[in-house]
């Protein structure tokens, strides 16, 4: 059967081109792979190959013709014994356009969700453990280790890899004792090669394991960020749900003390932006433990942002056999009526100190610890702002594109009419971290700045 040879699209953006030169003539026999013509696209001159075998029956577009639309018939290919004159030529075939479903905009509402529905559980003042539960005092460091160790006892596909996690017992002693308990098959020292071992971790997760990848600090994870985002976060989507990376990337994040610009960056806002990742940034020891256990059990890649200064801080931790904290549920640390202070991770230190100071001045602050940044419990923020009508966010990261910026935009869109003052986002200063002690102190957010921000929004 005679077939039409159509003007091809030869680049992602080509709509028309010039038929520069025919390399075959009527009556020539062609077979698959033979070059038939040269076609000029918007970018280059391309060779156009035959796909089917046959005889060139008729050339419909002469060489030198410009502006030939994609999918116009340019020649007729005959099978042996066919006659060119019998072939009717058709109009250009329209390239298929993506189907456009009309989007109805009713009542001025945005017709699509800004993000997929996330399950949020309303935050409460009550803790995540049953009343009467015995408590023990633990540092964040111990709580993180216990969380990992309990999950490793529970599921033998969970393993820990990273620099100095095994024999050295952890650069920050988070994995202390774990090599002894679990052996070198499951607590694995890696060479200093973040890009490589993050990729191996993601591959192991594709292969059915549940890796915990420790970065000595999240600053070094920038070497591995391609695997975190392109390989771990996107694969479930790109595979149509067939496979993903159930794993945890963890380590200290943000400023420690006097370690300079390259070792002092808060990545909360970076990772929070990525669909496919979950992002956790605990403050207290009980949350560090409960969220770590949830992170390891989660079927998605989880970014678990710890903080070196918090490692040694002691908190009450429930003495329960299996204590977990759900993602997407903020914790209300302090109830108040005049202002909502929203923070997470080490930012909570400033938020709680500021609330104490403000109380002395008769200002009642409600303090919310987000605990997870993705999914984020924005419902609890909105509920609180509807009560207090004012909001200040607190974080150590940089101001432009901060976590606070996002919270502020959510409040504007969902509770604008409840606001009695603009939201103030308290952040670290817009500078690389300096080394000098006095400068470093000024580069970070301070309690006094939080107090001042609250006084500004409460017009005191």
């Amino acid at each position: 059967m005679a077939t039409e040879i159509l003007m091809p699209a030869l680049s992602p953006t080509m709509e028309e081109g010039t038929l520069a030169k025919w390399l075959v003539k009527e009556g020539d026999t062609v077979s698959s792979g033979d070059i038939m013509a040269e076609i000029e696209t918007d970018k280059a001159t391309m060779e156009f190959e035959a796909v089917d075998e046959g005889i060139i029956g008729k050339i419909l577009i002469a060489e030198g013709t410009e502006g030939v639309k994609v999918n116009t018939a340019i020649a007729v290919l005959l099978e042996e014994g066919e006659d060119a004159s019998a072939v009717p030529t058709s109009a250009p075939v329209e390239a298929p356009a993506p189907s456009e479903s009309p989007v109805e905009v009713a009542g001025g509402e945005i017709p699509w969700p800004l993000k997929p529905a996330e399950v949020a559980i309303a935050a409460t003042l009550e803790p995540d453990w049953p009343e009467g539960t015995a408590m023990k005092q633990q540092t964040v460091r111990e709580a993180l280790r216990d969380g990992m160790a309990e999950e490793m006892r529970r599921d033998d596909t969970v393993f820990l890899m990273g620099e100095e996690v095994a024999e050295y017992q952890g650069a920050y002693k988070i994995s202390q004792g774990m090599l002894d308990e679990f052996g070198d098959k499951r607590v694995i020292d890696t060479p200093i090669t973040e890009h490589g071992f993050a990729g191996i971790g993601v591959g192991a997760a594709f292969g059915g394991l549940r890796p915990i990848v420790e970065f000595m600090t999240f600053n070094f994870a920038m070497q591995a960020i391609d695997h975190i985002i392109n390989s771990a976060a996107k694969t479930l989507y790109m595979s149509g749900g067939q496979m993903g990376a159930p794993m945890v990337f963890r380590g200290p994040n943000g400023a420690a003390a006097r370690v300079g610009a390259q070792h002092s960056q808060d990545y909360a806002a970076w990772y929070m932006q990525v669909p496919g990742l979950k992002v956790v940034m605990p403050y207290s020891a009980s949350d560090a433990k409960g969220l770590m256990k949830t992170a390891i059990r989660d079927d998605n890649p989880v970014i678990f942002l710890e903080n070196e200064i918090l490692y040694g801080k002691t908190f009450d931790v429930p003495d329960l056999e299996d204590y977990t904290v759900p993602f997407g549920k903020a914790r209300i640390w302090r109830e108040g009526t005049d202002v909502t202070i929203v923070s997470f991770g080490i930012g909570m230190t400033y938020a709680l100190e500021a609330a104490d100071k403000l109380a002395e001045d008769g200002i009642s602050a409600e303090v919310i610890d987000l605990r997870t940044l993705r999914p984020m419990d924005t419902a609890s923020i909105i509920n609180s702002v509807m009560k207090t009508n004012r909001c200040v966010t607190v974080e150590e990261g940089w101001p432009q594109g901060s976590v606070g910026s996002y919270i502020s935009s959510v409040i504007m869109q969902e509770a604008f009419d409840y606001l009695d003052a603009p939201v103030i986002t308290c952040t670290g200063k817009d500078v690389p971290m300096p080394y000098a002690a006095n400068l470093e102190k000024h580069a970070l957010i301070t309690t006094d700045e939080v107090v001042a921000a609250v006084k500004q929004v409460t017009y005191r």
Binding site: G199, G203, G240
Partner: protein, 334 residues
């Protein structure tokens, strides 16, 4: 080291291969070639968008290595991935429908040419970032070693990817931890438009493994039987727990890097010479005929059968509906 080199001339009939096997390789390679030609045609018609990297010319690499694989073995590669998927038994309809971005595609139309996966066939993608699949492949091998089975992972990458740092990070750990991973360097001599001569002074890629203690060899990638033989050797090393192995397979892509590459960095004569003298499919075809394993008519029947499969995949890919708009929001989280 030269002693490791595999023979490069396709023998008229090799004793270690049956007529059935040879016919199967012919069919598998022809399926890839016809499929890719059809994909190129659909791209020209605007039915396939974006980037589309064809495998034409390199067919013997995947078909030869799949002949050395067993059930449970895994494979992972770059964005030039259609051949790998067909060779490991994925359905041409599902692959073509992914190329056209339709619901019937392997990723429901959400991945495209460069991002396709099949859990069932142990095909782990389809990766668009050059060399990212190398540590990922080592990680898949890590998982099998951890679980204590004897599966092997074939980790494919090109001569372009072979210059990325993460390849050597992966080599180092793969050897350190004895991972059952066959690193397959598909050296088609061009990283997009940059020839190997212009990108490295290393005389060969496989020899770089020696720096990490990994054995390897160079293989003639236009000879499916040479590839199969090298694959069997590599797999044996890995299954025996003796760590990774590197195969540098010398091959050639006939088409441009992607559909929009005019390939001006090499001469038409160079491509034509390769097609005329070293075509991997023609080589097997001639073995089948000279060995009297098949007649011209037998081969014509195979050609027809393949053409029907490919045409059916194109029809399926055209008729399968676009994904429902709700699919935008699914598969982000498990």
């Amino acid at each position: 080291m030269a002693a490791r080199k595999a023979t490069s001339k396709p023998a008229a009939a090799k004793p270690n291969v049956s007529a059935e096997e040879l016919t199967a390789y012919y069919k598998d390679m022809l399926l890839i070639r016809r499929f890719e030609e059809k994909a190129g045609q659909l791209y020209g018609m605007g039915l396939i968008g974006g980037f589309c990297h064809l495998y034409i010319g390199q067919e013997a690499v995947v078909v030869g290595l799949e002949a050395a694989a067993k059930e449970g073995d895994k494979r992972i590669t770059s964005y030039r991935d259609h051949g790998h998927m067909l060779a490991c038994g994925m359905d041409p309809n599902g692959v073509m429908a992914e190329l056209t971005g339709r619901e019937g595609g392997y990723s429901k139309g959400k991945g495209g040419s460069m991002h396709m996966f099949s859990k069932e066939k142990h095909f782990y993608g389809g990766h668009g970032i050059v060399a990212a699949q190398v540590p990922l492949g080592a990680g898949l091998a890590f998982a099998d070693k951890y679980k204590g089975n004897d599966n092997v992972t074939f980790t494919y990458f090109g001569d372009g990817a072979a210059n990325q740092g993460q390849v050597y990070e992966a080599y180092n750990m793969a050897e350190l931890w004895n991972l059952p991973c066959v690193f397959v360097i598909e050296n088609n001599q061009y990283a997009m438009g940059t020839s190997t001569k212009r990108s490295t002074h290393s005389p060969s890629y496989w020899e770089r493994g020696a720096a990490y203690g990994i054995k390897g060899e160079e293989v003639d990638g236009m000879d499916v039987l040479a590839v199969k033989a090298a694959g069997e050797k590599a797999v044996e090393v890995c299954r025996a727990g003796k760590g990774p192995y590197i195969l540098e397979i010398k091959t050639y892509r006939y088409r441009g890097h992607s559909m929009s590459d005019p390939a001006k960095y090499r001469t038409r004569e160079e491509v034509q010479k390769m097609r005329d003298e070293r075509d991997p499919i023609e080589a097997v075809r001639s073995m089948l005929l000279t060995g009297k394993h098949a007649t011209e008519d037998d081969l014509k029947a195979i050609d027809k059968e393949i053409k029907e499969v490919v045409n059916a995949s194109a029809e399926f890919a055209k008729e399968s509906p676009e994904p429902a708009l709700d699919e935008l929001w699914t598969d982000i989280y498990a």
